[in-house]
Amino acid sequence: MIENRPWLTFISHSVLILGIIAVALPIWVAIVASTHPAEAFGQGSVPLWFGNYATETWQTVLFSAAGNGVDVPVWKMMFNSLVMAIAIAFGKIAISLISAYAIVFFRFPFRSLCFWLIFMTLMLPVEVRILPTYEVVAKLNLLNSYTGLALPLIASATATFLFRQAFMAMPGELVEAARMDGAGPVRFFFDILLPLTRTNIAALFVILFIYGWNQYLWPLLITTDDAYYTLVMSIKRMVSVADGAIEWNSIMATTILAMLPPVAVVIGMQKMFVKGLVDSEK
């Protein structure tokens, strides 16, 4: 604090509290909406205070069917989302770790070509090559499968860069010492490199888990079977029913459940999250 200006401190707190209220407003309405029966919607305002239908809504959504044309319960879609998010996060980290390892600690022909090929993925987000990617996955018979949900998304230029950066910062004496002691490349990777990059991996995992969980367009395209729906994309199917028939209470309950795991990760592992966010933008 440079100088004491009580009124300015007061304004600061007020603005921040206002910001927090504005940011939290949709969540408040969503939670309240999930405690009312479907009939409470469409006439007058959306309720702004709790009703007494919470148990019914949440029980139906979680265990019998999400409703609005989606016949699987939320727990099943939550499982699918979890599989997808974890497979994407682990997959990206694993293949990026080893390819960065190869690029930094070995010399082989076409090394820089490999690096540039990986770099190219940065310029090709799914959104710009939707149709041909769908066709490739269809040809490989991966529609409606966990492999199809995760595999096409696990190439990662960002993660490869990040690990490359971390590896290049390591002193060359480390490798020399390891080799002197008779450690081969595999031993060096597992016993020295991996423990030294542990915090990088953890930070990246948080970001990639959120990325994987929040995938929308890709699962929307390749899953037509309810059994493979992920939670985030199921929202689209739920709001697409005829206007008057939308069951807002179950949509809001599903929405809350769909955002809960990544939000919990951000709040619970805030330090790791911030580190991952800053790292992955470098």
Partner: protein, 291 residues
């Protein structure tokens, strides 16, 4: 790094998984999109003929395409400007606070984790013309609101939903930028008699400009490519063409309209835009490291 392992096959085995996924799911489809852009195919995929640049020419004569470019520019500028200014105000306030800063940060950054599609649905219910509390309040104030009918309203809705999610990201980077400004500079200015407002505009704001520029680029990239969910779950590009951003048009023309050549030509143009943005991003990041 000068010390390496002498090994011939191992490095290939190590890069193989990444390369394989890249080739099969990224480069191969991208190549197909480029090829497809020069062909015209009937809707059943039975025959196709080489048409050279006709798909591109058609696209550049299509008023809907220009409309989509305009919509994308308005949308991304609105998201970037409102997201950056709100986040800057919040970060400046949070930077002043010593006790409880962490609490404020926690309560402001969680929307980052909410998927764009969910953000869209959450704001939709607040603005639902028949029952949304904000829509009803606007009506009470004499402002008519119906994002299903009025294109401007639809645009405002998707901008709000997309910005809401992005504020946390901007906030974190602004706060880090503010905390990196040396205290001694600000103290010196204070001793010279500069008040908080003067200090902000003459010292803090210029020193923050690299962060702001970086965030501007990131926000535009976000608005261009990561907001598909917001639009798809709420307005689906409508009413009419009023919220059909470029990424949404590629999807709709390809999957719903089955105009494969046209969609592929749009993909190629988008790839060039991403390429350009990546170059800008990297150029800039080099500068940031120096700074």
């Amino acid at each position: 790094m000068t010390v390496t392992f002498p090994h011939k096959t191992l490095p290939w085995l190590l890069v193989a998984p990444q390369l394989l996924v890249t080739l099969v799911f990224f480069l191969w489809p991208a190549g197909q999109a480029i090829e497809q852009a020069f062909y015209q195919e009937d809707a059943f995929g039975l025959s196709r003929e080489f048409v050279a640049f006709e798909n591109f020419i058609e696209l550049l004569q299509d008023p809907y395409y220009y409309n989509s470019i305009g919509v994308t520019l308005v949308f991304s500028m609105a998201v970037a400007v409102s997201g950056l200014s709100i986040a800057l105000v919040l970060a400046t306030m949070a930077d002043r606070i010593i006790r409880g800063q962490m609490v404020y940060q926690t309560l402001l950054i969680w929307p980052y984790a909410v998927a764009p599609a969910l953000a869209g649905v959450l704001w939709w219910i607040l603005f639902d013309p028949a029952q949304g509390p904000i829509a009803l309040w606007l009506e009470y104030m004499g402002i008519e609101w119906d994002h299903f009918v009025n294109g401007g309203d639809a645009m405002v809705l998707v901008v709000i939903a997309a910005t809401w999610k992005q504020i946390s990201y901007n906030f974190l980077f602004f706060l880090a930028g503010l905390q990196a400004i040396p205290r001694s500079l600000i103290e010196a200015a204070a001793i010279d008699g500069a008040g908080p407002v003067r200090r902000f505009w003459d010292i803090v704001f210029p020193l923050l400009s690299p962060t702001a520029f970086f965030l501007l680029v990131m926000n535009i990239v976000y608005a261009f490519f990561e907001t598909f969910g917001v639009i798809d779950a709420t307005t689906a590009g409508g009413p009419g063409q009023s919220t059909k951003i470029l990424v949404y048009k590629v999807y709709e023309d390809g999957f719903v309209g089955l105009d494969l050549g046209g969609s592929a030509a749009q993909s190629v143009i988008l790839m060039m835009i991403v390429g350009l943005m990546t170059v800008v991003q990297f150029r800039f990041i080099e500068r940031r490291v120096q700074y």
